[in-house]
């Protein structure tokens, strides 16, 4: 196998606060291969955004503490100077964000904002940048790009603004596109459009995509591999088939059960994950998910489970239950909500 495009090694991100050290990301490792689509799934505060913001080194909070390595194409991004990092940002790794309504500068035309990005990373003549910007807008499906290029962000709808953000991200043909909840603020119909667009772009541009979301449904169609994060750690990792058809971690079951599914007979109640995510300052002893886990037993409150492969190739989970136990309990509790196993 070739070297992965991005490899995160034992990344820890903490913030000093008045109440103590908040361990937002607590020792995670994963890789992203070239052209691969990786979904990172978890609740608010699970550390999924912080992880990818750290890859971009976009966290400006002076109280942040990083540990670990982020290796992109053989270079450790953590060790790069600000100037060297700027070359990576926008040119090799691009990012789009959750709220398209506030992610574009309201005082400049969208053309200006795309051209600014192009000029920062390329040596272009005056007309070239504009022509390229029009091409990009056409590629992301904005009608009449020659006219719309001179419009300001507020003249676009939410879905259209997210398209502009994607055009911006694609302007330098990045090898890695990070999409942080790109559809959460949008209508389902517009969400379908944007996901379709990201899928096509992956096909046309061949860039790898990391898609962050709280909704497993969003990544079912688009992701090759999925990481499930809880309280700053990865609790399960596997390819799409493994995560959806043979989920191992009770937290993943909970996430799957929470979705009101259109493809299943209506249930009387949704399966929920009781309670709230734990405090990231004082992590509970043992497994972080134990206080909310209906399957917890003695060992869970003493020993922190490690992320290991138990069922198969590349399918990792952090749970003390044995594989047989897990399958039996899973089938007993949320069987009807799971997809048919192969």
């Amino acid at each position: 196998m070739a070297e992965p495009l991005l490899s995160v090694k034992d990344l820890k991100v903490s913030f000093r606060t008045e109440d103590g050290l908040v361990r937002a990301v607590d020792g995670i490792s994963f890789t992203v291969d070239e052209g691969e689509v990786v979904g990172i799934v978890g609740e608010s505060g699970s550390g999924k955004s912080v992880t990818m913001m750290s890859v971009m080194r976009l966290i400006t909070d002076p109280n942040v503490i990083y540990e670990g390595e982020i290796v992109y194409k053989g270079r450790n991004l953590m060790g790069l100077s600000q100037d060297a990092m700027r070359e990576v940002r926008g040119e090799e790794i691009a990012m789009i964000f959750q709220d398209p309504m506030t992610s574009l500068n309201p005082v400049y035309t969208i053309g200006w904002q795309i051209e600014e990005q192009l000029n920062e990373h390329n040596d272009l003549k005056k007309g070239q940048a504009r022509r390229r910007a029009i091409d990009l807008l056409a590629q992301v499906g904005i009608p009449r790009p020659e006219q719309r290029i001179d419009d300001h962000p507020h003249q676009f709808s939410g879905g259209m603004r997210q398209r502009v953000m994607i055009a911006l991200a694609l302007s330098c043909n990045p090898d890695l596109l990070i999409a942080d909840e790109p559809t959460t603020a949008l209508d389902v119909t517009i969400q379908a459009q944007i996901l379709e667009l990201i899928k096509n772009l992956k096909r046309d541009f061949g860039s790898a995509v990391v898609l962050i979301t709280h909704d497993l449904g969003v990544v079912a169609d688009i992701a090759d591999r999925i990481l499930v994060m809880y309280a700053g750690r990865i609790v399960e990792e596997g390819n799409k088939e493994q995560i959806f058809y043979d989920p191992q971690h009770p937290y993943t079951w909970g996430l799957l059960g929470s979705i009101a599914r259109l493809d299943r007979p209506k249930r009387r109640r949704l399966t929920t994950i009781a309670g709230q995510p734990p405090s990231l300052i004082n992590r509970p002893r043992g497994c972080s998910f134990r206080p909310r886990c209906p399957q917890a037993f003695d060992r869970c409150s003493v020993e922190d489970p490690a992320l290991t492969a138990k069922v198969g190739d590349g399918h990792l989970d952090a749970c003390h239950l044995s594989v047989e136990d897990k399958r039996a309990r899973r089938d007993a509790t949320i069987r009807p909500e799971l997809a048919e196993s192969a």
């Binding site: 459009q193 079912a220 996430l255 009101a260 599914r261 109640r269």
Partner: protein
Amino acid sequence: MSAQNGGPLLKAEHVVKYFPIKRGILIQREIAQVHAVDDVSLEVRRGETLGLVGESGCGKSTLGRCFVRLYPLTSGHVVFDGQDISNLSRRAMRPLRRELQIVFQDPYASLNPRKRVGSIVGAPLAIHDMGDRRERKRQVQELLEKVGLSPEHYNRYPHEFSGGQRQRIGVARALALRPKLVIADEPVSALDVSIQAQVINLLADLQQDFDLTYVFIAHDLGVVRHVSDRIAVMYLGKIFEISPAEELYRRPIMPYTEALLSAVPIPDPRESAARERIVLEGDVPSPINPPSGCRFHPRCRYATDVCRQIEPPLVDYGNGHLAACHHPLNVDKETLARASVDERRTPEAADESAKPSEPATN
């Protein structure tokens, strides 16, 4: 309020809500109108949950607010529990406010950050002069427990709670006066999926305990189908389809409904890859100048000339399933022959002779 126990709890008759757009030098002239809700008639039955779905800007929130008279109507009537409330004065409206409550979308913006939970939830009780101080406190603590918070949260501030917990506070506030009808306006859209499930289950439990009727407004058909007994689909200020929930999901008649259903992500990679996806092109057109004929025609893949010219009437396909479309889906010839135009609920402007003759072929 008694005699009409058999009838619907809430009835909307040709409800219209336009928002004026004004321009002018000294005197503001009305130059255009946003057609937020355009001639909507429907009923909410006692004890049921009516789902109201559509994209942003389709008027579903405006309609919900018209139901509780947060907005005055441009025209039409809203009849609540047998009483026409569309023209009631503020004072006459006041006792009814107890029975009509609303839960808002944004759990961060809809709670006053400077007030304690106790006074937020207790405010409706205090306004309506119910019980003395101690009695109110007891009631509020009971409510907090009912919505899954603890009575000790009485003295906390909203910022100490997560989004899901705040939404529970919003629900507790709405229930304080034991309303009959609760309008839930996108109550879970701002929450994580796992927390959405908690709030949805909570709403279902409370419906049983308090004998509530819900109007549940959302853009996610998955969630709406789960909570609703009947679903109304709105587009650009009009109702395009209304049906029992399961029926709508199995047999959408209006192409817009079909597209909405197909946009809901399915957490199953193989099924997701296998199903036909209808991705609607473009955005919802401006409600200032809605398209002619059927308002959905510019985005509809079945649209023909008749759709551009004639507004389709709501046709009753039996079993409480109504739809407004010239090219109905999932309907065979016999059903179509039996179907009749629902005159009561058809917008006055619609051409009533325009009952569809041919099912869509595709």
